[in-house]
């Protein structure tokens, strides 16, 4: 897995990326702040969202079984997938059963997480992304850098050039409505001919077996209503107990994600309705590491996430490096705590450190995930896993020094002597060894000539 600092260095060097990101995230941030401030009970809503999710996780076994039987009773076929391979195999099999060679897809992080498109391609089935931004990325062989706005790192001109090269049948300007129209014309044909749709899910209602998706463009509704066969893949943490609970999340989610009071399309469907919509409905309940996250009492709050992306937009790290540096479909602060837990901290040891612990993410999270606390927790797991390292040794040594005021005084004296060759004109411009990173863009103040301790003791 990629090393965050190294990947970030590459992304930081891309000035266009930083400008695109800065502009886009600042805009969404301001919109979010505006619509959140409107609600007098925002804090209560957040608390309710947190509470519902905590309850779901505490009784997930019951809710899952309840969801399964309700969905089955409504005519859906429910499958359980332990990992990505199992989930992908289920989708491939459904497609093969129907002799389908192309499926239409709505934007879904869960299917990105399990690399469904690659698995389908390997089985000779092409998956067409129908979300505007996902389509852009697919046409260009690029991948998502933001949970909600996957092509946030691309601008209009880049998109115009891409469309002109691929789907447009005439000349194109970079006017957004013209670009949207080009995609619409292309996709409409595809929708009308599609025989199988694939979706993720925002919520699954345990009580009724209902699936809920929220979206902006309406392409999701096309995918879930036009083709006769539909497969929806649902991470097991996506459940809510009852229909009434949606009330809370349908307020929290749009305001936090797009900064809208309500999202343009909210679709809810329960099993199969004869004569209306897909006549064969499959639901895949996906684990893929989630039960492992659930087993960690501190880390499990990461499963509360409703993928609103508010934490990305306010993160000072994400807004500079972009999403690709995180090396996963889940970037930003939530990615930094979710990815290492899903795939194991030993597989992504640099991610828990990809944060200054500034706390901006926690402040905006609609379900109150204390991301900095989980980061600290994961850091201690990384340290545990790595065992004896030079850093471990240095920390031990520092701990030993701080264990006695006498040793600290001695260390300060030592520092004063050791720094002598480094100080030029009152400051240090280059530090050696692992501290060189500091002086890469900052000078360093030398240890003071007189410590506070000494000054204090010689006061009159």
């Amino acid at each position: 897995m990629t090393d965050f600092p190294a990947a970030a260095r590459v992304e930081l060097a891309n000035g266009q990326l930083r400008a695109n990101l800065h502009h886009a995230t600042q805009t969404i941030r301001a919109k979010r702040a505006g619509v959140v401030a409107e609600l007098p009970d925002w804090e209560e809503l957040r608390e309710a969202g947190r509470g519902i999710k905590a309850d779901v996780l505490a009784r997930l076994d019951e809710y899952l079984v309840q969801f399964e039987s309700a969905a089955q009773a409504a005519g859906a076929q429910v499958h359980w997938a332990r990992d990505a391979a199992e989930a992908n195999a289920i989708v491939v099999e459904v497609a093969r059963d129907h002799g389908v060679s192309e499926v239409v897809k709505m934007k879904s992080l869960t299917t990105d997480e399990i690399h469904l498109n690659d698995a389908l391609a390997a089985a000779g089935i092409s998956a067409l992304e129908t979300d505007f931004a996902e389509l852009i990325l697919q046409l260009d062989g690029d991948w998502s850098s933001h949970i909600l706005v996957p092509a946030i790192h691309r601008n209009r001109t880049e998109i115009r050039d891409l469309f002109a090269r691929t789907i447009a049948d005439g000349p194109l300007t970079d006017d957004p409505s013209e670009l949207a129209e080009a995609a619409r014309v292309y996709l409409r044909e595809k929708f009308l001919g599609a025989r199988m749709g694939v979706s993720g899910a925002n919520f699954g209602v345990a009580e009724t077996g209902t699936i809920c998706i929220v979206e902006s463009e309406g392409n999701g509704r096309m995918c879930t209503t036009l083709p006769p066969v539909l497969v929806s893949i649902l991470g097991i943490e996506k459940l809510v107990p009852s229909f009434a609970d949606l009330e809370v999340f349908l307020q929290l989610l749009p305001r936090s994600s797009t900064g809208e009071r309500m999202n343009p399309y909210t679709s809810l469907w329960t099993g199969v309705t004869p004569g209306d919509g897909p006549q064969e409905m499959h639901i895949v309940l996906l684990d893929a590491g989630r039960t492992r996250v659930l087993a960690d009492e501190v880390g499990r709050v990461a499963l509360h996430c409703i993928r609103c992306s508010a934490c990305l937009n306010v993160c000072p790290v994400y807004t500079r490096t972009g999403g690709h540096a995180y090396g996963s479909v889940y970037p930003g602060p939530i990615g930094a705590i979710l990815t290492p837990q899903l795939i194991g901290v030993d597989q992504a040891p640099s991610l828990p450190y990809a944060s200054t612990l500034c706390g901006a993410c926690y402040e905006v999270c609609p379900v109150k995930i204390d991301i900095p606390a989980v980061l600290l927790h994961l850091r201690s797991k990384v340290v545990e896993h790595k065992g004896a390292t030079p850093e471990r040794l240095a920390m031990r040594a520092m701990g030993w020094v701080f264990g006695s005021a006498r040793r600290l005084r001695f260390a300060q004296r030592l520092g004063r002597v050791a720094q002598r060759p480094l100080v030029r004109g009152g400051s240090i411009r280059r530090l050696p060894g692992p501290l060189a990173g500091w002086t890469q863009g900052r000078t360093m103040r030398p240890v003071a000539r007189e410590s506070f301790r000494r000054w204090w003791s010689r006061r009159p």
Partner: protein, 202 residues
């Protein structure tokens, strides 16, 4: 009182994932400071560590932690003082550090103190609540990202025309000051306490 036995709160250890070492320092803190009624520190992130995070490491720290205050909190909220009689004839901008804003939550206490300093012109910092990029070991482990954040912070500071940027965290100031100096600006990074300690005759 300055208990001479005090050393470090262990924030660096805790934030880097060395919980055991941090716990040892937390227990030491309780021993050294346990008997005092109020404990003051000029570093909001250290206060945050002791008050908000210690209890998860060593439960007995909660009692002492509740009596730990950041300097401006102690002055304004606990003692009701916002004018300390300081004199500092400079244009100053204030950077609310992340921990003072979101962990220790000192609120506007530092600003209230600065507004009462004679001769001082306080100018607002654009995008003030944005992190400066320090983040402890982050500054070294993720030096490139840290420096990118710092560059934006320095640009905001310089845009105010202030000659001094103040804050209530020495570590962030070390980072910001180092950046300002490296960029060749004349702007200085000064701790709030240094400004409050300035008088007409000194």
């Amino acid at each position: 009182m300055f208990p001479a036995e005090q050393t470090c709160c262990g924030q660096l250890h805790l934030n880097s994932g060395y919980r055991d070492d941090a716990a040892a320092l937390a227990r030491r803190f309780v021993e050294v400071f346990g008997e005092y009624d109020a404990i003051v520190s000029p570093s909001s992130s250290c206060v945050g560590t002791v008050r908000e995070l210690y209890p998860q490491l060593v439960p007995e720290a909660a009692r002492v932690g509740a009596r730990v205050f950041e300097l401006s909190e102690l002055l304004v909220n606990e003692l009701g003082v916002d004018d300390v009689g300081a004199y500092f004839p400079h244009r100053v901008t204030y950077h609310p550090t992340c921990h003072s804003l979101r962990v220790t939550r000192v609120g506007d206490a530092p600003l209230r103190l600065l507004r009462k300093v004679r001769g001082l012109e306080l100018v607002e910092l654009p995008a003030a609540d944005e992190c400066c990029g320090f983040g402890g070991t982050f500054a070294v482990k993720n030096a490139d990202t840290s420096i990118a954040m710092l560059a934006d912070k320095c640009a905001s500071i310089v845009s105010t025309g202030a000659s001094v940027c103040s804050a209530v965290d020495g570590s962030c100031l070390l980072h910001i000051g180092g950046g300002l100096e490296r960029q060749g600006t004349e702007v200085r990074a000064l701790h709030l306490a240094e400004i409050l300690a300035s008088t007409e005759d000194a």
